[in-house]
């Protein structure tokens, strides 16, 4: 039995306890399983972009549906399970206490896995909120909140029962994670249900964009970063067998990071119709992030000082050192991309994709691998099966992620330069968007190869851990520890105020919450209540009932993942797409559909650009109208019927949210939708299309696409008369 307090006390004052490592094992299994799923989905999605035929004409796994499955599986399933494993393992040891409640731990584990499975199925079925990384519809969003509360109760309960007076800095990062993710998730997911798997957010247009990217950016910050920094501060000293380089620096790192990170969300909306001051705040704080991020990176790397020689032989340290290096690289690149002039080139391009993968593969996967190589032999009381395999895994993963990143940098810069190229006469050098797609296709193949190498490295790790666990001794006795409860531990007189706060989880959590709420409130509240935040435009009206139905199909198919609807105020964009987008134009968009990528062209003003028949043929087989298109076919839209009966419910919710529909429009919603569908179909029949398509989803989608940009379009007299 181990005395964890190491102080002479009366023996009777000691408490005996054990750690709940079975729960940690469950989360390790979850990490390994979902990591494999996420990476397979990722490689598949990469292949779909390299060659559209990898969509296989299947509705459930077309790119627009597979991509959110990949991102959700990578972030919430793979990284999420790893985070829970690490937090539960390290928290018990940092607190010298068993988890607060074993049953809650099991509820947390099985609840999270159930959400992941249902989430993957619902995304495949096309049930999506249409907001990146927050796609899961309202029943699952509520389930996530409930399970997160279970996690929080178990974590804070453990802190409450701890036998270590001081809360080590890793625990601070976990507290910030738990509090902030709860705030982000709840605020971003407030929506009004239409039916069991469909809802509309209470925010619209520019407000929705601001809230979503406040969430989206900080999901990266507080789900992929802060918990793993906490894990870094625990596992790197353990693996290096020496304390953190500077504990003071870790405190500076923590408070600066949580204060600054929350402000940076608007850097995802630079040059958009978001007010300039919000964009500038986002940019300034993103640049400020350089300091705490690099402070943390330097602190992590210097913790390994004196142990560098062991990198050659110990996979744990090798993966951790590489992860911290990637953390440094991606947190250098992030602020760089937030500088407006750099962002003007990089936004909507594959450069961003390269950046996020240097974070998720380079930082998260590498650190998770390092932690697992530390944790698994300790928990199973055994040795790693093969260091040689671990080395193979390391080099394949490193080479793979570098191939991935470099190919995406190349593709991104190429795209950005081609989009903006203008000749001496002021014309676009590459007016045909598909030219800019074809040019980067070789890079898409290189990316798929890089991703495949990372997948292979993961499979090697799986095999290595399988053999490690298989070879572990069976029936390991539960290890007992003893330590003094806090009430018997000496309190130092004159203990400073910060020391006391650090010892009070509740007050510490309140302070951390204030730190993240300051930025959130200042950025978001004006958008919700200031009347002049969005300039009104009397020309912009609500969507017709059929357009609403078509818009929801657009969201279901994940069109926003490849097409933006936000034209930036730049010469090349004006030449290619038309006038810059205004905030007023998306005032009725719930959710907003500005997008974050242009694998295909912007669609903000696509309405009226092509005849209905062009869209009809394009959706049936994009190669019929653009021979080099990489877009998948959407043949199921020609078979599936529009659910006309649900349209009045949608209109009712929109009306309740303030969209100015009249009572007559609400009462006649189905009639109006069918009448518009008839009108579009009549035009198509003249081109040889069968009349049976009039109630199919393709007609609703055409109605929506033809509406985009029409409200603010300058019309000729003839067009006005015809309308």
């Amino acid at each position: 039995m181990n005395d964890l307090t190491q102080k002479p006390h009366d023996e009777s004052q000691y408490e005996t306890f054990s750690y709940d490592d079975n729960l940690v094992k469950y989360f390790i299994y979850g990490t390994l399983f979902w990591g494999l799923v996420a990476m397979i989905a990722g490689v598949w999605a990469a292949l779909q972009l390299a060659d559209w035929r990898f969509n296989f004409g299947l509705e459930w796994v077309s790119f627009g549906r597979l991509r959110p499955i990949h991102t959700n599986a990578a972030i919430f399933a793979f990284v999420g399970n790893a985070m829970f494993a690490g937090v539960y393992h390290s928290t018990q040891r940092l607190c010298r206490a068993r988890l607060y409640n074993d049953f809650l731990g099991r509820v947390h584990f099985w609840g999270w896995q159930l959400i992941i499975v249902l989430g993957a199925l619902s995304l495949g079925m096309g049930n999506t909120m249409g907001k990146e990384y927050a796609e899961l519809e309202w029943p699952l969003a509520i389930a996530i909140a409930v399970i997160w509360v279970v996690f929080a109760v178990n974590f804070f309960g453990t802190l409450w029962r701890r036998r270590e007076r001081h809360m080590y800095v890793a625990l601070w990062f976990y507290i910030a994670t738990i509090v902030t993710v709860a705030v982000l998730h709840i605020v971003n997911n407030i929506s009004i249900p239409i039916d069991f798997m469909k809802s509309y957010p209470i925010y619209a247009g520019v407000q929705d964009a601001l809230v979503q990217w406040w969430y989206g950016h900080n999901a990266v910050a507080f789900f992929l970063t802060t918990p793993f920094l906490g894990l870094m501060y625990y596992y790197v000293p353990k693996a290096a067998m020496r304390p953190v380089y500077s504990y003071r620096l870790s405190i500076i790192h923590f408070w600066s990071l949580v204060f600054i990170y929350i402000w940076a969300g608007p850097h995802h909306l630079l040059y958009s119709s978001l007010p300039d001051w919000v964009q500038t705040v986002g940019m300034v704080f993103s640049i400020a992030l350089w300091a705490p991020s690099w402070g943390g990176m330097i602190n992590g790397l210097l913790t390994i000082r004196g142990a560098w020689a062991r990198l050659r032989t110990e996979p744990t340290l090798k993966f951790m050192a590489t992860a911290i290096t990637f953390y440094g690289m991606s947190t250098f690149e992030g602020p760089l991309l937030s500088i407006k002039s750099v962002n003007a080139l990089a936004h909507y391009t594959d450069w961003i994709i390269g950046h996020v993968h240097s974070g998720t593969i380079g930082w998260n996967y590498m650190l998770i691998a390092g932690i697992l190589f530390y944790m698994i032999p300790k928990i199973w009381k055994t040795e790693i099966y093969s260091i040689r395999l671990a080395n193979w895994q390391f080099w394949l993963a490193t080479f793979g992620v570098l191939l991935y990143i470099v190919s995406m940098w190349t593709a991104g810069v190429t795209q950005g330069l081609m989009w903006r190229a203008v000749d001496e006469a002021g014309r676009l050098v590459y007016p045909n968007f598909v030219e800019t797609v074809i040019r980067i296709l070789p890079m898409y193949y290189v990316r798929a190869v890089g991703g495949f190498l990372v997948l292979i490295s993961f499979v090697i790790m799986l095999y290595n851990f399988f053999k490690t666990i298989q070879g572990a001794p069976k029936d390991i006795p539960v290890e007992k520890f003893k330590a003094l409860p806090l009430i018997h531990q000496r309190v130092v007189h004159g203990e400073a105020a910060h020391r006391r706060i650090e010892g009070l989880p509740f007050i510490f959590s309140i302070l951390a919450t204030i730190a993240i709420l300051v930025g959130s409130v200042v950025e978001i509240i004006p958008s919700l209540i200031a009347q002049n935040f969005v300039e009104r435009d009397s020309r912009v009206g609500p969507y017709t009932p059929l357009e609403i139905a078509g818009r929801d199909i657009y969201i279901t198919e994940g069109c926003y993942l490849c097409h933006s609807q936000q034209i930036r105020p730049m010469v090349a964009e004006k030449l290619r797409y038309g006038d810059p987008s205004t905030a007023a134009e998306s005032i009725y968009d719930r959710p907003f559909q500005w997008g974050s990528r242009r694998i295909g062209p912007d669609l903000a003003r696509v309405g009226g650009k092509y005849p209905d028949m062009w869209h009809y043929r394009h959706m049936w087989n994009p190669r019929e109208v653009i021979s080099q298109s990489i877009m998948p076919s959407y043949e199921w839209l020609f078979k599936k019927k529009v659910d006309f009966e649900v349209i009045p419910k949608k209109i009712r919710v929109m009306k309740a949210l303030g969209v100015p529909y009249t009572d007559e429009q609400l009462a006649d919603a189905v009639i109006l939708a069918k009448a518009q569908a008839e009108m579009i179909t009549e035009g198509l029949i003249a081109s040889g299309v069968p009349s049976s398509v009039k109630d199919k989803e393709i007609i609703a989608l055409i109605a929506y696409l033809q509406r985009l940009g029409q409200d603010t379009k300058e019309r000729t007299k003839e067009e006005v008369v015809n309308d």
Partner: protein
């Protein structure tokens, strides 16, 4: 009332105001951390993960 105040607020000054707030917060934190006599405490705290825990 709040809407009125927000509508008149000079939001263009916001990046400067917030950065000043952060700089004050940051400098206070640094001075606090490096106050006299705190080194021993941090030396003790940084050892927490390395305490014997059966591993």
């Amino acid at each position: 009332m709040i809407r009125e105040v927000l509508s008149r607020f000079p939001f263009s000054l916001m990046p400067t105001i917030v950065m000043l707030v952060f700089v004050v917060f940051f400098l206070s934190m640094v001075f606090w951390l490096y106050r006299r006599g705190s080194t021993d405490f941090y030396k003790k705290i940084e050892q927490i993960p390395l305490k014997e825990d059966g591993e």
